[in-house]
């Protein structure tokens, strides 16, 4: 079994700032972390490999420093890691990002299963996973909360929905995106950390994955951010309620009734 896990390095959310000129996220000097959801994707990939044999490969598209996230992946036990980095990839939206990742997956070859996190905490779109599946024309299952069974030719998963869940079986090759319910990610072992330090991460450029240059980066992206602004100001004229528990309860209910909430 050959599994690819897509991971993204993201700015720690509350530090995020936007460059007013370019409308891009200012990534310089900001703490970068592995997208929290991708820890679950990595753990699932590792568990499935341990159970079924084969190989699990982590890939990431991003600037050179995204290699830190790939090292984290090595430290928890993936077999290989590949960085997709080039100026030409910069400015990619979800269409172009999923195109690049799909091309890399094709280049890796004979991949049975691709695992993505549910969404990245910077863009918050959840579009890249299904996007990869579409570019590859593979089947997909999103919001996967459990893998029930896996064979050499298919996987059986539980998909979380607003109104419950369903169980479906999808033949390989396939793409799944996973939610936090699916597992408890391991912490890296000392041996893993040492291995990750020594690991030499190959860097792939557009030509390495036969990418059509008109489909990557800003030029290949159908969306454009035209403006960014702070969210509507939340005025905090807090009304304090104090007193005995019963006073509190009555005052609170009065407020709720005044607003026709109950």
């Amino acid at each position: 079994m050959k599994i690819v896990v897509c991971i993204k390095q993201v700015p720690a959310t509350h530090d995020a700032k936007i460059d007013p000129e370019t409308k891009r996220i200012i990534r310089e000097g900001i703490k970068a972390i592995l997208n929290p959801f991708d820890n679950y994707a990595l753990e699932e990939g590792i568990q499935l490999r341990d159970q079924f044999g084969g190989e699990v490969i982590a890939i990431s598209m991003g600037p050179q420093k995204a290699e830190n996230s790939l090292r984290e992946a090595i430290s928890v036990g993936v077999d290989r890691a590949i960085l997709l980095s080039d100026r030409a990839f910069g400015g990619s939206d979800t269409w172009a990002t999923s195109y690049v990742l799909a091309k890399a997956i094709k280049k890796i070859g004979n991949v049975d299963l691709v695992i993505c996190g549910k969404q990245a905490i910077d863009g918050d779109t959840a579009q890249v996973g299904p996007g990869i599946a579409a570019h590859l024309d593979w089947l997909q299952a999103t919001y996967v909360m459990a893998v029930d069974e896996i064979s050499s030719s298919s996987i059986r998963v539980k998909r979380m929905h607003e109104d419950g869940y369903d169980v479906c079986e999808i033949p390989f090759p396939a793409v799944i995106t996973v939610v936090k319910d699916i597992n408890i990610p391991r912490v890296p072992s000392l041996k893993g950390v040492l291995a990750s330090k020594k690991y030499k991460i190959p860097v792939w450029k557009p030509d390495d994955i036969d990418a059509d240059k008109s489909k990557i980066g800003l030029d290949g992206s159908p969306t454009r951010v035209v403006k960014t602004q702070p969210p509507p100001f939340r005025h905090a004229s807090t009304k304090k309620i104090e007193g005995t528990p019963n006073d509190c309860a009555r005052s609170l209910l009065k407020e709720l009734r005044m607003r026709s909430i109950i």
């Binding site: 995020a16 905490i121 918050d124 579009q127 299904p130 607003e162 807090t238 304090k240």
Partner: protein
């Protein structure tokens, strides 16, 4: 990327809504989106079309016109009972090719967020996730899409002017549902666009409703949420009682409570949980770490109950109730019964 010329763009008309169907019923988010689409279509002097894919859906589709739809495209087939992303994508791809919509919008539900990105990639369409505002350029039909990113810390306005259709998802309860007008009528188009048997397809084995995981936080009007201050699973039983009394309330949780195993992950609000935008959010024993705040700070009314009045949550709350929640909540439950 091929950039559409103005003439090519002109071939694309009308605003489409992809209906959210659960167990054969069209969901409220669809009506909300028809309302939003109506406003856009009126600016463009075009029509609102709704695509309904499912099994046994003709009856539920008749109501769409009263909410403001002009045309309903019905693809009714038993094979569309469960959610098969790939089949629905193929159908949408053919419908788009046949009818050329200017804009396609869909609910940002688990289904919508799985289906639409797939369709967008196949069409080379730009797709903007989780929009909170949509407006349209009356001259050229370019859609201006506003959405929160970075956990609500930034609002971005996004355009996808080079291609048609333009696509966007919108979360439930962000747009206002129009009042239905039973006298309104429209056209129904029945399409038989079931893709031929492909050997490789997803096989849906089972569907479970109303289980422990069925927490529709996105759809709730009121969320009563608990954190570490709830002390244990017993505390969440109290919140469930509270929620039942309030009517229409869902129970949420902070990451700390979920990680302690007091309540399943499906209830988690925040950066790694769900982002919610309800009318009322009642935070009980939640200190308000930034990762939690970003998931709920755009709720209309925030109420916090905490014995410590200095927490970030108590600071941003509209109403801060200071005291022991294990004493206050039972009193609230009791007093509601007396109303």
């Amino acid at each position: 990327m091929k950039v559409f010329t103005d003439n090519e763009k002109k071939e694309y008309r009308n605003i489409w809504v992809v209906a959210e169907v659960l167990s054969g019923e069209i969901q409220p988010v669809t009506h909300e989106l028809i309302g939003a689409a109506r406003t856009l279509a009126d600016v463009r002097k075009s029509e609102v079309w709704v695509v309904v894919m499912g099994s046994g859906i003709e009856k539920t589709s008749e109501l769409l016109f009263s909410y403001g739809a002009d045309v309903a495209i019905i693809v009714d087939n038993p094979s569309l009972f469960g959610f098969i992303d790939e089949t629905e994508t193929k159908i949408m791809k053919r419908l788009i090719k046949k009818y050329k919509p200017e804009i396609v919008i869909c609910g940002a539900t688990t289904r919508g967020r799985s289906l639409i990105p797939r369709i967008a990639v196949m069409n080379y369409s730009g797709l903007t996730a989780d929009c909170t505002g949509l407006s349209i350029d009356s001259d050229n039909g370019d859609l201006l899409q506003t959405r929160p990113a970075f956990g609500g810390n930034i609002m971005a306005t996004i355009r996808s002017s080079n291609h048609r259709p333009q696509m966007a998802t919108v979360r439930p309860r962000v747009m206002k549902s129009p009042e239905p007008d039973p006298s309104r009528t429209g056209r129904m188009i029945k399409e038989k666009m079931i893709p031929g048997d492909s050997t490789k397809t997803k096989n849906i084995i089972d569907i479970f409703h109303n289980t422990e995981t069925a927490v529709n936080l996105a759809d709730a009007q009121i969320i009563i949420s608990g954190g570490r201050g709830m002390k244990g699973p017993e505390g969440f039983k109290l919140l469930k009682q509270f929620a039942k009394r309030v009517g229409g309330a869902a129970v949420g949780a902070s990451r700390a409570a979920v990680d302690s195993g007091w309540i399943p992950y499906a209830h988690q609000v925040g950066q790694t949980g769900q982002t919610v935008q309800t009318k009322v959010y009642i935070a009980c024993g939640i200190s308000g770490q930034i990762q939690h705040l970003v998931g709920m700070q755009s709720c209309d009314l925030i109420i916090a109950i905490d014995k410590n009045s200095d927490t970030p949550m108590m600071q941003i709350a509209d109403i801060a109730v200071v005291g022991d929640l294990f004493e206050i909540i039972p009193e609230v439950i009791k007093e509601i019964a007396n109303l």
